[in-house]
């Protein structure tokens, strides 16, 4: 492997994907990329930090919401996005559309990604910041690691921040 995480033939061999956001639209792209990497035979690790920790939080990962405020991509007036229930309705709608495309809900998706052999890790600084412990996370999480350990894990591969 060359220093930039590719093989001499230019192919990517390993990716480390950092998930820093706790919204539906912040989490899904990272999961799709990790799962897609494994399907291509690329080694993949997911590192959950800051609000991204919600994705692997036992009590929260079933309730991940689409961000309806400050999200111009929704083409919805900001004041409307802030009305009670709008985020839930939009999340439900999005979940329905994703289901039609066979994109699994986040809990099932994470289980599936762990089954592909990808590693799931929680960021120690964020875990400490939010006062969480190992027991707050789904069993698929391999470890709570420091940023230094993350870089060791990511060595020789590409790093993607989402």
């Amino acid at each position: 492997m060359t220093g930039d995480g590719t093989m001499p033939n230019g192919r990517i061999e390993k990716v480390s994907i950092i998930v820093s956001k706790g919204s539906l639209d912040g989490i899904y792209p990272a999961l799709i990329m990790a799962n897609g990497a494994r399907a291509e035979g690329i080694e993949a690790n997911l590192f959950f930090t800051f609000f991204g920790l919600d994705a692997i939080h036992k009590a929260r990962h079933e309730h991940i919401k689409l961000a309806t405020v400050g999200n111009p991509g929704l083409h919805l007036a900001t004041w409307a996005g802030g009305l009670p229930g709008v985020s839930s309705v939009m999340t439900h709608y999005m979940g329905h559309k994703m289901g039609q495309l066979d994109i699994p809900p986040i809990p099932e998706f994470l289980e599936m990604i762990a089954d592909t052999g990808a590693g799931l890790y929680a960021c120690k600084a964020s875990v400490d910041l939010f006062g969480l412990t190992r027991d707050d996370f789904i069993s698929q999480v391999k470890d709570i690691i420091t940023v230094g350990e993350f870089y060791e894990l990511a060595a020789g591969g590409q790093i993607i921040f989402t």
Binding site: I32, N35, G36, R38, A39, E40, G41, L101, D102, I103, P104, M112, D115, T116, G117
Partner: protein, 105 residues
């Protein structure tokens, strides 16, 4: 288009080694394609998946992605990756002589 010889016959493949004409595929070719893809021996479990890929392709005109493959074949995701560590849908499709599945999930 590159030409390869499998089980004594010329076949055309694309630059990634996938058959361009699935009709050219025969079962005797599979072990050699598998070896080239890093799988030394095709076990009955491998064959189950490879045959399933052929079947799906014949039915739908395209091979399934990993999730669909697992759901419809009943082989778990974990087992699929044990059988085909370098990508189950991709490798099984290559060994089965069908085009690479294009799903994202």
């Amino acid at each position: 288009m590159p030409v390869k010889v499998y089980a004594g016959s010329d076949v055309t493949v694309n630059d990634d080694g996938f058959f361009t004409d699935p009709q050219q595929w025969r079962e005797e070719m599979a072990p050699q394609i598998a070896r080239e893809a890093g799988i030394e021996t095709l076990t009955p479990e491998h064959w189950q998946v490879v045959k399933f890929m052929r079947h799906e392709y014949a039915e739908k005109g395209t091979g399934p992605s990993v999730r669909a493959l697992s759901k419809t074949s009943g082989v778990t995701i974990k087992e699929l990756y044990q059988l085909f560590p370098k990508g189950p849908a991709k490798l099984a499709a290559k060994i089965a002589g069908i085009p690479k599945p294009r799903g994202c999930i």
